[in-house]
């Protein structure tokens, strides 16, 4: 099968709707298909990877640790839009540490998160073959 560039665009906050959780479930399956996988966190989607999520009191499962496990699935291209953070009063420090081990660099632990501008996000979106929106 041909290799395509898949992008998963996450624009919604977690817990208010199921899209964040079920988007992640698609990503985990997609990892098995040896396609190029990129995750974009734009607009309210930046809240999906915020630190210290504690949804127990609203009766929901905390799935935020799954983002930290994405490196084990060889998914390490997570792009976060800077403007989306700023508009929400957030900064890079508010995001979880999401890392992968670089096999080409003696398994050094490196960040999977890259903060980019809206202009850079625009270019990244244009470079995809298949875009799933959640």
């Amino acid at each position: 099968m041909a290799t395509k560039k898949f992008m998963y665009v996450n624009r919604k906050a977690p817990y208010g709707t199921v899209y964040a959780l079920e988007s992640l479930e698609v990503v985990l399956i997609a990892a098995a298909f040896e396609q190029e996988v990129t995750l974009a966190f734009v607009d309210d989607g930046v809240y999906q990877i915020i630190k210290n999520q504690k949804p127990k009191a609203i009766g929901m499962k905390n799935f935020s640790s799954t983002y930290k496990a994405l490196g084990d699935y060889d998914i390490k291209q997570l792009y976060v839009e800077r403007e989306s953070l700023v508009e929400r009063g957030l900064s890079e420090e508010d995001l979880m540490d999401i890392t992968y081990e670089d096999e080409d660099d003696d398994w050094a632990e490196k960040s999977s998160l890259t903060i980019i501008s809206r202009a850079e996000m625009t270019e990244l979106m244009a470079a995809q073959d298949v875009t799933f929106s959640f």
């Binding site: 817990y15 208010g16 709707t17 199921v18 609203i58 009766g59 929901m60 499962k61």
Partner: protein, 130 residues
């Protein structure tokens, strides 16, 4: 106080059903009465007994059934909304010539008049939706 709650979205897709459930529990804990929970729009899907989510997640539909049974809450699914979306009790399924039903224990199917009546009878009506 006597409450009627209206739930307009289905389980999981939106938080509305969870919020309504948490609100109901909190109100009951303070000694208030939940006179009726009325499920409308996709909210009717809260009344399905065929749901089996992952074991580490809540079962929204069953939470409602248990709450109703523990506190004797009247939980009404709108018949018109339910027909569109395929939520049936045994009677309705038979009347429509269908070969199965899927309603969960503690729910009953009735008309929109139950919503209006609930709001007239109750001190407060709270709407939970998208």
């Amino acid at each position: 106080m006597k409450y009627t709650l209206m739930v307009n979205e289905g389980p999981y897709q939106h938080q509305s059903a969870d919020t309504a459930y948490q609100f109901a529990k909190a109100a009951l804990a303070k000694g208030h009465e939940i006179f009726r929970v009325f499920f409308y729009h996709d909210g009717v899907n809260n009344g399905s007994r065929l749901s089996v989510p992952p074991k580490d997640d809540r079962l929204v539909q069953k939470q409602w059934s248990e709450l109703a049974q523990q506190h004797g809450i009247d939980m009404v699914i709108c018949i018109a909304a339910a027909q569109r979306r395929g939520l049936m009790d045994a009677n309705e399924a038979k009347r429509q010539g269908l070969d199965a039903d899927n309603i969960a224990p503690g729910f009953r199917i009735s008309g929109l008049g139950q919503l209006i009546e609930g709001s007239i009878e109750s001190d407060r009506t709270i709407v939970f939706g998208d």
